[in-house]
């Protein structure tokens, strides 16, 4: 196993870099999109609500691989060039944001209705009441589920391997086929994934404790 670290160090670092970049981009954008989707569903407009539901149900219920393959293979045929990393990251963001939207929505709904009414009765707009009163409470409630989702997101970034995104799993496949040492190759990237996900898990636990 040590051999793989020493022989393929630079290849693994490249993989780690792409995995990390994809995870970070996805984390930021899927959090934003997920929150916006959750909030839009609270609006009175039936059409907006319907559109949000369609988005969420579509991306939540299709395997990630299908979404990413679709982006990777269909978009360049009819629209514009898109490389594997971009297609994978966009696909992962679309997919993850659907889950985050559901998590945030459940968080908002578990905040008492009186909180929103209290805020609105002082003249705050809907968005102000959401931003200053409801969302901070909703986020606190959903931190454990969000933490899970974030860890899943890092692991799901391995989808890049299927569209030549040069991430950790892609490198593992390449190393495995070069060395014929499949077990150790995957073990090494398993440990590298742990290095990425464990600090995040700890941080989410810390946040949970700090806020309660």
């Amino acid at each position: 196993m040590i051999n793989i670290f020493t022989h393929f160090g630079s290849q693994l670092v490249v993989g780690l870099g792409w995995t990390l970049l994809c995870s970070l981009i996805t984390l930021v954008f899927s959090s934003i999109i997920g929150t916006v989707l959750a909030l839009l569903q609270m609006l009175p407009s039936k059409l907006v609500h319907l559109l949000c539901r369609i988005y969420i149900e579509v991306f939540r219920n299709i395997p990630l691989l299908v979404i990413v393959m679709f982006l990777y293979l269909i978009i360049p045929l009819y629209f514009f060039k898109i490389n594997g990393f971009t297609a994978g990251t966009i696909g992962l963001t679309l997919y993850t944001s659907a889950f985050i939207a559901e998590i945030i929505r459940s968080g908002i709904q578990s905040v008492e209705a009186g909180q929103l009414e209290g805020a609105r009765s002082t003249g705050m707009t809907y968005w102000q009441a959401m931003r200053y009163v409801v969302l901070p409470q909703a986020f606190k409630i959903v931190i454990p589920s969000l933490g899970n989702q974030f860890v899943n997101l890092i692991k799901d970034s391995s989808i890049l391997a299927f569209v030549a995104g040069f991430d950790l799993l892609y490198q593992a496949n390449a190393i495995a086929s070069k060395t014929f040492d499949t077990i150790n190759s995957y073990l090494v990237v398993g440990i590298l994934y742990l290095l990425l996900t464990m600090p995040l898990s700890y941080y989410m636990h810390y946040l949970e404790k700090k806020l309660s």
Partner: protein
């Protein structure tokens, strides 16, 4: 933090496990095969003409399948059974080394790197690297690949071979041939590099793609067998020779490659 010390033994266990190899593969394959009247073959699932699972009846079909059946009967007699296990580029060598399969017949070129880990039978197909490109592509041979994006299969040695002929080519690895062909059609790459036999199979299925430039390497396919299995290896080699002498081999070549446009199957004839 104290609580997390359990992780260290877990990691150590993982290290240890990776050090241990299953010893099943050390048993005598030929003796086992003769007593069970069965040889288990690792084969591919998505290799048109060589080994493709027919979705209608879930049965592997192709040149390699027929050849494996013929070799099995040659070694074990008419009652010998060939059993097929689907393997991928990533799993075929582990499956063999763990003893899950007795041999792998899966468009594997005989290479020195692979020979460090496993043994090969004599060649059963004269393969070589070639290029699959869209019909109106400007790429005529391997030297045109400089500055282009080339699609290979993760686990194939194609990418390194391409780099030798066209150092400025960018190689992206796909998981299997289905995805690789789709990627080529979606212009994710300019050419798909792989063995000629495989590429002809893909070209038959996809009229918008053609094989171009002939083969630029000689990488014959061999049947992968575990090391320390010399008796079995000899039996396989003997079987191949017998099939080539009897004309059965040529019959199979014609059966599977006779219809491929642009492919002179008679060049593949033995004896």
């Amino acid at each position: 933090m104290k609580k997390k010390f359990w992780l260290i033994p877990v990691l150590f266990c993982m290290l240890f496990l990776s050090g241990c190899r299953q010893k099943v593969a050390d048993q005598a394959v030929l003796k086992n095969a003769q007593s069970s009247k069965t040889i288990t073959w690792g084969v591919e699932a998505d290799m048109k003409l060589f080994s493709l699972i027919d979705v209608r009846d879930d049965v592997h079909k192709g040149f390699e399948i027929d050849l494996a059946k013929a070799i099995t009967k040659q070694i074990l007699g008419p009652s010998g059974q060939a059993k097929f296990v689907t393997a991928t580029a990533q799993s075929r060598i582990p499956l063999l080394k763990n003893g899950n399969v007795d041999a792998v017949i899966a468009t594997m070129s005989i290479t020195p790197e692979r020979k460090k880990v496993i043994d090969f039978s004599n060649s059963y197909f004269d393969a070589g690297e070639s290029l699959l490109v869209p019909v109106r592509s400007s790429i005529k041979n391997v030297h045109d690949l400089n500055g282009k994006t080339v699609i290979g299969i993760v686990g194939d040695n194609s990418s390194e071979v391409v780099k030798k002929f066209a150092p400025k080519a960018k190689v992206i690895g796909m998981q299997n041939y289905g995805q690789a062909v789709s990627a080529l059609k979606s212009h994710q790459g300019d050419a798909l590099v792989s063995d000629n036999g495989v590429l002809y199979g893909l070209a038959v299925e996809n009229p918008s793609l053609v094989v171009t430039g002939g083969t630029f390497t000689k990488e014959p396919y061999g049947i992968a067998i575990n090391k320390q299995q010399k008796p079995f290896e000899r039996a396989v080699n003997r079987a191949i020779t017998q099939l080539q002498h009897s004309g059965e081999y040529n019959h199979l070549i014609k059966k599977w490659f006779g219809q491929v446009p642009g492919f002179n199957y008679k060049e593949m004839y033995q004896q």
